[in-house]
Amino acid sequence: MVMRKITVAIAGNPNSGKTTIFNMLTGARQHVGNYPGVTVEKKEGLCRYKDYEITVVDLPGTYSLTAYSIEEIVARNFIIDEQPDVVVDIVDASNVERNLYLATQLIEMNMPLVLAFNMSDIAKQIGMVFDIEQLSKLLQAPVVPTIGNKAKGKTELLDAIIETAGSDKVQRTYKINYGQEIETELANVENLICAEEGQLAKKYEPRWLAVKLLEQDNDVIAKVKNKKVQDAVTASTEHLKSIFGDEPEIVMADKRYGFISGACQETIKTTVESRHSSSDMIDAVVTNRVLGLPIFLILMYLVFLMTFKLGRYPMEGLELFFDWAGSSIAGLWPLGSESWLRSLLVDGVIAGVGGVIVFLPNILLLFFAIALLEDTGYMARAAFIVDRIMHKIGLHGKSFIPMLIGFGCSVPAIMATRILENRRNRLTTIMVIPLMSCGAKLTIYALIIPAFFTEKWHGPMMWLIYLIGIVLAIICIKLLRLTVFKGETMPFVMELPPYRMPTFKSLCIHMWQRGWMYLRKAGTIILGISILLWVASSYPKPNPESLRDLDREQARQEMLEYSVIGRLGHAIEPVIKPLGFDWKIGTALIGATAAKEVFISQLAIVYAVSSREAGALGSTDAPETTLRDKLQANYTPLTGFCIMLFCLIYAPCVVTVVMTKQETGSWGWALFQFFGLTTLAYVVTFIVYQVGSLIMT
């Protein structure tokens, strides 16, 4: 049997339950990525029904299809360029009037449309009765009641989709009437388009083009090259402005609502006014002006705790597993033999794969927590509670969550920026996340601080270095906002969806999507780079003769110094000298781009001490010369501080770089972040060291 292939795009307002319908149709067969070139999430899934293979695309949630936000442009371009066979508009049945606004625009684009009246159970509960048949007639599109989170209405919806896909494009007879003045201008522009811009008129619905032109939609205006049309549009808009004393687009929006309320009046009976009673009660507590912030902070603390404390156990398990795998593979070779293959497998591949997979528990747990906050409706409140603070910095309230996660690890933090709808906010947040001192950097601080500072100063030093990161992040955000991400900050208008009980299944789907995406996409690249770094730190090998009289530690030191990384360390010494660093620190810094904690083990190698003692926290009283003693003997406290400062700011680790590439959709942003932060680290450390040296002498 030959399957017929069709594409269905799912459109709808934020909070209309779009995702639950998407999950209902596609189950777990989903693919999450980005729209090419933009940081907007694209979800795709497959659904087999009867003899159809249906590709379902979840468009970004939007209220409208204008060209004012990247999400709306993405949704609109997909509908126009990909020409899906059917567009399903998800309508929150308990809030039809506002939700249908998007539908009016889809009708205007003359798309084959199916309307899913979602959460129809809630609508029924609050006393709404629909005349579905009449509504379908008025909107000229089949209307199907659904309950997404209970998977009700699935077959009906699929039947409607197939029927709509199979039928020929209907020329809708019933149009939204914008009133005589506007209609005259519309007809004028429409005729001109058909006459002068034949190509455009073939690709797009001419009436839709005319509507968009009168609305002064930049995207559509740019498409029109013909002078006659341009002039006519300018004349029409001026004329309309003078008649209505308002922008034509506002008048037209008004007419659309008029059309909607006309359609609703005839077909929807409602007995109860509010759909918010229980939500109101929760809100009274959660957004209370006294309790709001403490509740938020406690919840955030729980999210952090869940991600990193609970995640530690499976993480340790995975680490043990990879240790075991490494040593068992190493055991295949006779004791004492040095084989490149063994080293590649153990130090390159297994260490690399391990380095990728140990993050998985964190990512899964974090996204479970985020899904919980989002699906219940709390996220919208949380965003508002911290928005006043975040807004002063120039970010959206929701940015708080990824930034907080950044203190644990940048990798899940960067993935967490997906909760930000606005692209500019998202990019800005991603760029500064590495300035949050992550867990790996903490190990560096834990090594350095006790080496150079007395007990009394341990706490304040740690606090200071974290604070510097935060302050730098705020400065960077301000700078980015003034330069690269210039533009008005999105004024805060946000819908507060009613609180809802999430389903366990949807939470799991959400969590699994992220985890899988991380493994598949990031995993491969990170593994490649890990192997590359392994090669750089192992080759070229020195002459075995020269190692003969050295003990094991000294031999490792000799080998690292001889390798590409060691040579690079030497090469950059003149550059990092003004920061108070020598080639040994340089070598460790280069190696640490693989993962920040590598800094310690690399430093241990160049100082020919066993890295186990060096990494251990309470090892100051160990009988052998530990790395801390070596550091103390070789550097001043100022250099120690500069090491921490530099490690805090400079190039994020490989995994972070790859995540940034992944999430922003371009190497450009990843490299910008990489070199931007390194430059910043250099400048800041330079100033601190030079000024510090002056004061000290």
């Binding site: 209220y63 409208s64 204008t66 004012y68 936000s69 308990s94 809030n95 009037e97 506002r98 606004y101 998007l102 609305e215 002064q216 922008e247 687009e249 506002i250 929006a253 008004d254 609502y257 509010s274 759909r275 918010h276 939500s279 109101d280 809100d283 957004t287 002006r289 709001g292 919208a380 508002f384 509670i385 928005d387 006043r388 807004h391 008005e488 004024p491 805060f492 208008v493 946000m494 819908e495 507060l496 009613p498």
Partner: protein
């Protein structure tokens, strides 16, 4: 009947229901607000207006939070 003064939305107390007279924002914002149902002639109810704290309104059956800045740009009667 309607002899109430036009005032800023931010000055409306919680519990009051008012009608939007005009939205004085830029073109882009104006139409974005319109797509969310906030435009002239629309009835809204102020749900929460506590300082400091969220400014919450109810419009066409949905609750929405506005930034304080936003509330200064909307004239109501």
């Amino acid at each position: 009947m309607e002899q109430k003064q036009t005032r800023l939305l931010s000055a409306v107390r919680a519990g009051e229901t008012v009608k939007i007279v005009s939205v004085q924002a830029g073109r882009g914002l104006n139409s974005r607000l319109a797509s969310m149902g906030l435009m002239s002639k629309v009835q809204i109810t102020v749900v929460n207006n506590s300082h400091p704290g969220p400014f919450v309104i109810s419009v066409k059956g949905s609750k929405m939070m506005l930034g304080r800045g936003m509330a200064h740009k909307i004239m109501v009667v």
